[in-house]
Symmetry: C2
Subunit: 267 residues, 2 copies
Amino acid sequence: MRDFSGDHRWLSINTATIRKSGGKDLPLTEIIEACVQRGIRAISPWRDQVAAAGLAEVSRLVRTHGLELSGYCRGGMFNAKCLVLVVGGLPGALQGKPEHKDIALSRTQVRDGIAELLDYARQVRMPLAIEPLHPMYAADRACINTMEHALDVCDELDPQRTGAIGVAVDVYHVWWDPKLRQQIERAGKDRLLAFHACDWLTPTTDLLNDRGMMGDGVIDIPRIRGWVEAQGFAGYSEVEIFSTGNWWLRPHDEVLDTVIARHMTAV
Amino acid sequence: MRDFSGDHRWLSINTATIRKSGGKDLPLTEIIEACVQRGIRAISPWRDQVAAAGLAEVSRLVRTHGLELSGYCRGGMFNAKCLVLVVGGLPGALQGKPEHKDIALSRTQVRDGIAELLDYARQVRMPLAIEPLHPMYAADRACINTMEHALDVCDELDPQRTGAIGVAVDVYHVWWDPKLRQQIERAGKDRLLAFHACDWLTPTTDLLNDRGMMGDGVIDIPRIRGWVEAQGFAGYSEVEIFSTGNWWLRPHDEVLDTVIARHMTAV
């Protein structure tokens, strides 16, 4: 397992983490500058932020600064290491109007959709990373909720383990799973495409936007990272914190400085 | 699968469902009267409600009315069909001060604790029902979060399937699980000790107290009940709804009448 305590070369910032600064929207161009100032080498931007700042300008900044992209949220390609798939749940549920209750049907449709996308992804050499989301999002955001289920889909669609499809391990979504270590070992290096970090707070006051800073919650992040790296994963540790009530209210400089410090002590 | 559409003989009310009436505490004695008035044959009371009303008085009422107890929440015995175990998570987490982050350790302690309790439970012929809670409660309420994990514990502690230990299936906690049907079949009749119903709302606005009335959410309850009954389960369908923002604000008569109606159409 790599030693993160001396520097933050393996830190990537998911740009949602400083989407707001002091409660106000922070443009992606300023997010990038703030990261570059601190020697952060990689980011994972969100499509809406790229659209707002302009793709050409964002591309120029990324190239100028030699930034790497540990992922791209969600959909789209853009030179990222992998495309993170948040696969969706029951149609309409995110809008509070679920069209049916057949989660097995949604899971079949998701599997078929990924199969179709995989053909194209192979052509353009863009690995697909299925991100299992926490079961509390099964209805409205993603009906793949465990590593085991995600890997079952990978095995079905890519039995030869070509590297075209794998998983994104976000500790927030999977930390509770009693089979987590076993499934990380099952995934192996070729299926471990991304590693995301934040923390689970007790109490958690909001299902979506009350994620914690690493070290402030109950997840033993170094233990999980140890399992992932024991398989040979050597990519970025991407920090993604949605926090309407705390971190998004603070100045982004403070947030980034805290992320860097915690990356060295609590990841 | 039994037909619930003609009457509510298999309905049991978890008394937390009408713990409040119009926003105010409703004593257990009045809860019992309201249930009896409607021909409800079984309840599952909470220990704090029993303590407040007095054990002797509650026992008298239960006997007088010939009420059955589909469970008892949580701990204690009291002639119930089974003792529902909500096994706990990380020590201190429920108070917001987790003492450690080693969920594997908590799980080992829970297994050891159940093993010890099981000896006594066998003597008094009180089956223990492990209730897997939704993974969003893994830190602070229960670190057994899937049917598979609960059944692993059952198999380890009671390989002969004596009926001394099994599971309580609450659709709210397990509906999302892609292995749910498989694990219900694995459980079989002797391990299926209780069936609880409520619904998962989209959106869910509170992790604990925003449970939905059956039919108002995304859970295909009849499908899950069908799987459980295909194994031979023929006990009560216990309704348990924690709802600070909706049902607990309404008069309990309205809540009970709605529960009975939905029991016949959405369970």
